[in-house]
Amino acid sequence: ARERLQASFTVVDGHFRKLFDTLFGGGEAQLVLTDAEDPLEAGLDIIAKPPGKKPQTLSLLSGGEQALTAMALIFAVFLTNPAPICVLDEVDAPLDDSNVERFCALMDEMTRLTDTRFLVITHNPISMAHMDRLFGVTMAERGVSRLVSVDLQGAERLREVS
């Protein structure tokens, strides 16, 4: 079990470093497997160095930097064994505009590298504009959901009104 964890760790770490560089437009990061007698007690730490800054453990980064770093980890695991479907529920919430653009560029890259179909739940107009198609969930009747097709041009003027 220990060798398998070490082996998958190395593969994930490889993807993670490349994805961090892509999402941050530079900088460096690495996964750290903290050893323990019992492999079940081993821990996964992350050291990240955004461009121009000094390397720090994940907990010292900003809210958006932490989210982007965790996203690199999630996609690194994904790339080791791409699933036919990937669903992302509001992962872009803490990101500023340029990081949302990078997140979208990453998803475009994933659709080129894999056959995975993506379902992206978002409130962010930049993410919406990057989608190949949009579905709106509405509650014209309170407490009852309906699904409607949303035209991508209409999304430019889409106002979320509850």
Binding site: R4, L5, A7, S8, V11, V12, L33, T34, E41, G43, L44, L58, A67, A70, M71, L73, I74, V77, F78, N81, P82, A83, P84, I85, C86, V87, L88, D89, V91, P94, D108, T111, D115, R117, F118, L119, V120, I121, T122, H123, M128, M131, D132, R133, L134, F135, G136, V137, M139, E141, R142, G143, V144, S145, R146, L147, A155, L158, E160, S162
Partner: protein, 168 residues
């Protein structure tokens, strides 16, 4: 295996029959707070065989059945169907002679869940294995719940390591 279509009826706020077509590339889902977007995501994990009610922000699995509004009575059953493309014939023996697979989960209030694949009764674990063999499933790391990124960031190192095990 490709995911084609999710069909819901009576599942949480989707009381009326609803079809979500899943096409290649990026499909966005938008709408105001509380309108049902995360409920849609939960329906997908549910039909893939998630057995813990806690995964559905619920105290009991019956809580995923439409519980009524001020204008409508509660339902007593919920059903979600997932249509899969099996042209590559990657399904387990017994289900592998069809181009299309339909996985259906139904819950009846007070009576638990039933599963069918192409109309034939199966057990929850058959459904779990079907998806596991296709590198997906209710616990797939590629299904990122609302708030899960924050959980990963705040997690103890040992809990975070479990993400790696999903990849192993």
């Amino acid at each position: 295996m490709k995911f084609n279509r999710l069909r819901l009826v009576g599942f949480k706020t989707f009381v009326e029959p609803t079809d979500l077509l899943i096409e290649p590339g990026l499909t966005g889902v938008v709408g105001p707070n509380g309108c049902g977007k995360s409920n849609l995501v939960e329906a997908l994990r549910w039909v893939m065989g998630e057995s813990s009610h806690k995964a559905f922000r619920a105290n009991d699995m019956d809580d995923v059945i439409f519980s009524g509004t001020t204008g409508r009575p509660a339902r007593n059953t919920a059903e979600v169907a997932l249509q899969l493309d099996n042209a590559e014939r990657t399904a387990p023996a017994g289900f592998n002679e069809h181009d299309v697979l339909e996985v259906v989960r139904r819950i009846d209030r007070g009576q638990g869940s039933h599963y069918r694949i192409n109309g034939r009764d199966v057990r929850a674990r058959d459904v779990n294995m079907l998806f596991a063999d296709a590198s997906t499933g209710a616990r797939s790391p590629a299904l990122v719940r609302q708030g899960q990124i924050g959980e990963i960031v705040g997690a103890k190192p040992a809990a975070r390591r479990r993400i790696l095990e999903e990849a192993a």
